[in-house]
């Protein structure tokens, strides 16, 4: 393409250093914010003021920060649940269902120990450990269904995980509503509240699940960059045919990534309903957290499956969802502005990934005769 005597050409990059990728993401966020400020200006608001409100509440206000971190943990776990199958080229969009299976299983442990009606006698670490294990097991098995069907008969994993979400949703309804076993004694259409001993302890004002996120980051990073198993997953993701030729077993990979992804999604369910102060029960509005889990897909895609890069992305969107909602209420902005802002930022981030693969070369164009005339 030429423009004003300059020639613009696209060139494919061979490699991209990590710092450049990070730089492009930051530019993308700034670009997205600048773009969205047009909407604020249209509404007669000062965008700078709004962004100040959003970010200061999300990242500086002591109450807001706690909410942001809670949301961050949830999103990070949901992203990891997406990333692991994504590295194998498979799509897990069953996080909403898997997280509810996890939450139900950990509540089930408490229920079986008699925690619904009275106090539990077992010690807190034992209960917490059992709850975590149960959450991972149940959600992992639930996820493995999709992996099994994919590996055995090649059934589309997107359809399966999505349909399983519905099953999980109705299962939650069965358990917590209308006389279900986990129903709150007050009959408010939500689950019983966890007794003191079954609530996740806090460290430095934050739930212990924050540590799980960091530990998982390290583990996943090691898995994918150092371990033979991670290599097999990545190879299968890049080229199933080549992986099969190299002796990698597709069935094993499919079942494994969906079990792991499901188990981590289960942890995010545990986190929101058993580790966040002020919740400690499966809320009536459970569909909301299901929707929120889909942001895991977005965060996973934006970070291109990199476990380390996932964290800043999850933090940004966790903070925006908290700060955006706050600013919307405080400044009387239009309904859904917070989600619209997040949407624009996502598109901007994804669009800027174009520059991960291409660079634009601008050269001054020399005068050239295109077609001569001859007789």
């Amino acid at each position: 393409m030429t423009l004003g005597g300059y020639e613009f050409r696209l060139q494919r990059r061979a490699t991209l250093p990590g710092w450049k990728a990070a730089l492009f993401s930051i530019l993308a966020v700034l670009f997205g914010l600048a773009l969205f400020s047009i909407i604020f200006l249209q509404a007669g608001q000062n965008p700078v003021e709004i962004y100040k409100q959003i970010f200061s509440y999300a990242f500086l206000n002591s109450y807001g920060v706690r909410l942001t971190i809670s949301r961050f943990i949830f999103l990070a776990l949901a992203s990891y649940a997406f990333i692991i199958p994504a590295q194998a080229g498979l799509w897990n969009i069953g996080m909403p269902g898997q997280l509810y299976l996890g939450a139900l299983a950990s509540f089930g442990v408490v229920y079986l120990m008699g925690g619904k009606t009275g106090e539990i006698t077992a010690s807190q670490p034992v209960i917490i450990l059992l709850m975590l294990t149960a959450a991972m097991l149940a959600a992992g098995l639930f996820g493995a269904i999709a992996g099994f069907l994919k590996g055995k008969w090649g059934v589309n994993e997107i359809v399966v995980t999505m349909m399983l979400n519905f099953i999980a949703f109705y299962f939650v309804a069965f358990m917590i509503k209308d006389g279900g076993p986990f129903m709150n004694l007050g009959g408010r259409g939500e689950s019983f509240e966890l007794p003191e001993a079954a609530r996740a302890p806090m460290t430095g004002g934050f739930p212990i699940t924050l540590w799980i996120v960091f530990i998982l980051m390290v583990m996943l990073q090691v898995l994918f960059s150092r371990m033979g198993l991670g290599y097999q997953i990545r190879a299968f993701g890049k080229s199933p045919a080549a992986a099969r030729y190299a002796g990698i077993k597709p069935f094993m990979i499919a079942v494994l990534v969906f079990s792991l992804g499901g188990a981590i999604a289960g942890l995010s369910g545990y986190h929101y309903f058993a580790a966040v102060p002020g919740v400690y029960k499966i809320a009536r509005t459970y569909g909301y957290f299901g929707d929120l889990a889909f942001y895991g897909v977005i965060c996973g895609l934006i970070s291109l499956g990199n476990p380390v890069a996932t964290l800043p992305v999850a933090l940004l969107f966790g903070g925006l969802s908290i700060g955006g909602r706050y600013a919307q209420g405080k400044l009387h902005l239009g309904f859904g502005v917070d989600y619209a802002l997040m949407g624009v930022l996502m598109i901007s981030l994804v669009a800027f990934q174009f520059f991960y693969n291409y660079q634009i070369l601008i050269t001054k164009k020399e005068k050239k005769l295109d077609v001569a005339i001859s007789d």
């Binding site: 494919r12 150092r226 030729y245 002796g247 005769l369 077609v371």
Partner: protein, 530 residues
């Protein structure tokens, strides 16, 4: 007479620029074509090239010599950074193949660009001006048939492309180009997928074309004898430059190869006599289906011993591919068994076969044999991630793997900026060297090489073949699957011509005759016993 003018960069023609064409007139003249790729690679460095009406002028060069780039520029797929192209003295600029086609340039790709589910006729019509509005299929069919008859092509216009052999697909592509009015025909590796018989026919057809004052430009890397038999002139490219222009009458295969590679090439590979050892693989009545569910491999039996090369010869689609995949466990055996060093491995997994000492280099090098986005190191890892020497309790020793990759690069003379670049940046020949090097570095007891030299230039071909012979000297058994009879004849100890899923005969190398084997793979020599 005719005139072009620029209107939004479009070429507009008034009148037929191909009127009154005289044999011997320069029809295409490319001057100083230069193309630089990112990273400073000079793919074409001031290439001058001329072709006259009624002339066959071959362009010869190794992979990476700049042939593909030049071809793409002449056909409008790429724009040159410098240089000019004249068609019948008219300066042109091709912004897309559409422009090139309008100016009478036709191209027959090595990798066929046809829609498999459509008929030959529908494919010929695709993109043709007559495909607009109501299709006059009957009229087009008559015209196509007349064209085919003129040039001696046998073609069924109503056959679906997927039913055709490689040779028939090529004919369809040529007819398509001619029907679009090509006066200059660019042929990319025209004989690489053909049987000897089909090759002869094609050459006859090309002869007829030159009588009609068409200019024909075959681009060739591999089959030098074809260059000699077909063309009058040859332009040799090396490293993006024209290194020579020769009249074929005054040259030999040796001279061509030497000019092309830049060093003498030994055509008679030194095959040392080796006493064959124990049987490595015994195949008994092995059968398998192809992807369409049809029995494609029919009760095939053979044995290969240590230090032996079995050459499986055949035209594509006669069961060789299914044989290779079934032997390596990538395809289910529907009958029979495979013994590897006495052990029944018919049901063994692919991973077990690697561990037992089998090795396979697939013909689909980018789809199966390598992972394009992975680095060279990660591609070498494909054969080592399970190996205790490089996998310590689940952790991969990437340092060691990197060293191993550097050894492969070194020993196999791979041209690459380093072991960490994505393997997709390598040329075809270098990619194959990495794949073969990776497999042979495991010192397998059996190597199955599926079309190991297909599409490679003379230098890389010789290299790959020498490496297979080296494996043989080290007492490996080798199954060489090839569509190139010369390759099979020069490397093998035993030759197994395949036709329609069956091995027609097992012929020891010293008794092999090219014409008889050529007839066998064409299905013309079924009953030999009589």
């Amino acid at each position: 007479m005719f005139r072009t003018k620029k209107k939004n960069g479009d070429i507009e023609l008034h009148g037929d620029i191909w009127k009154h064409i005289q044999p011997g007139e320069v029809v295409l003249d490319a001057q100083g074509i230069t193309k630089r790729y990112p990273g400073g690679v000079l793919a074409n460095d001031h290439i001058d090239f001329k072709i006259k009406a009624g002339e066959i002028h071959a362009i010869l060069g190794e992979n990476g010599a700049g042939k593909t780039t030049l071809m793409s520029i002449l056909f409008g797929l790429l724009q040159p950074d410098e240089g000019e192209i004249y068609v019948r003295g008219l300066k042109v600029r091709f912004r897309s193949p559409e422009d090139a086609i309008k100016m009478g340039i036709g191209m027959v790709h090595q990798h066929r660009k046809l829609v498999p589910a459509h008929t030959v006729l529908e494919n010929i019509l695709l993109g043709h001006p007559k495909s607009r509005g109501v299709l006059k299929l009957k009229e087009v069919e008559d015209e196509v048939m007349a064209l085919a008859e003129r040039y001696g092509f046998e073609i069924d216009p109503r056959a679906r492309v997927w039913q055709l052999t490689e040779g028939e697909k090529q004919v369809a592509e040529i007819v398509k180009a001619l029907y679009r009015g090509a006066k200059i025909l660019i042929l990319d590796e025209p004989t690489s997928a053909l049987t000897p018989l089909e090759t002869d026919r094609l050459l006859e057809s090309i002869e007829t074309m030159t009588q009609d004052a068409l200019g024909v430009v075959p681009f060739i890397t591999h089959k030098l004898p074809v260059v000699l038999s077909i063309s009058e002139k040859v332009t040799i490219l090396r490293k993006g430059r024209v290194v020579d222009r020769l009249n074929t009458a005054e040259t030999t295969e040796q001279i061509l190869a030497q000019r092309m590679v830049g060093r003498p090439v030994i055509f008679n590979l030194q095959k040392q006599p080796i006493e064959p050892g124990e049987p490595v693989i015994q195949v008994e009545e092995l059968s398998a289906k192809n992807n369409k569910g049809v029995m494609a491999l029919n009760k095939v039996s053979f044995t290969v011993r240590e230090g032996e090369i079995l050459g499986v010869a055949g035209v594509a689609g006669n069961g060789q591919h299914e044989l290779a995949e079934t032997l390596f466990g990538l395809r289910e055996a529907k009958g029979g068994r495979i013994l590897f060093r006495g052990q029944d491995i018919t049901q063994a997994s692919v991973l077990d076969r690697w561990k037992l000492g089998m090795g396979y280099t697939p013909s689909e090098r980018t789809e199966v044999g390598s992972i394009p986005d992975f680095s060279l190191v990660e591609n070498v890892t494909m054969n080592y991630y399970f190996d205790n020497r490089y996998n310590h309790r689940g952790f991969l020793d990437y340092g060691g793997l990197r060293k191993l990759t550097e050894q492969v690069i070194d020993e196999f003379d791979v041209a690459t900026p380093g072991p960490d670049v994505p393997i997709r940046t390598l040329s075809g020949g270098n990619l194959q060297k990495v794949i073969l090097g990776r497999v042979l570095s495991r010192h397998p007891k059996l190597v199955i090489a599926n079309l190991p030299a297909q599409g490679l230039d003379v230098g890389a071909t010789e290299f790959v073949q020498r490496k297979l012979l080296e494996a043989r000297s080290q007492k490996a058994a080798v199954i060489l699957i090839s569509e190139d009879l010369d390759e099979v004849l020069s490397l093998s100890d035993w030759i197994a011509p395949m036709y329609e899923g069956e091995i027609v005969d097992m012929i020891p190398a010293e008794k092999a005759q090219k014409d008889i084997i050529g007839a066998m793979i064409a299905g013309l020599h079924q009953e030999r016993e009589s």
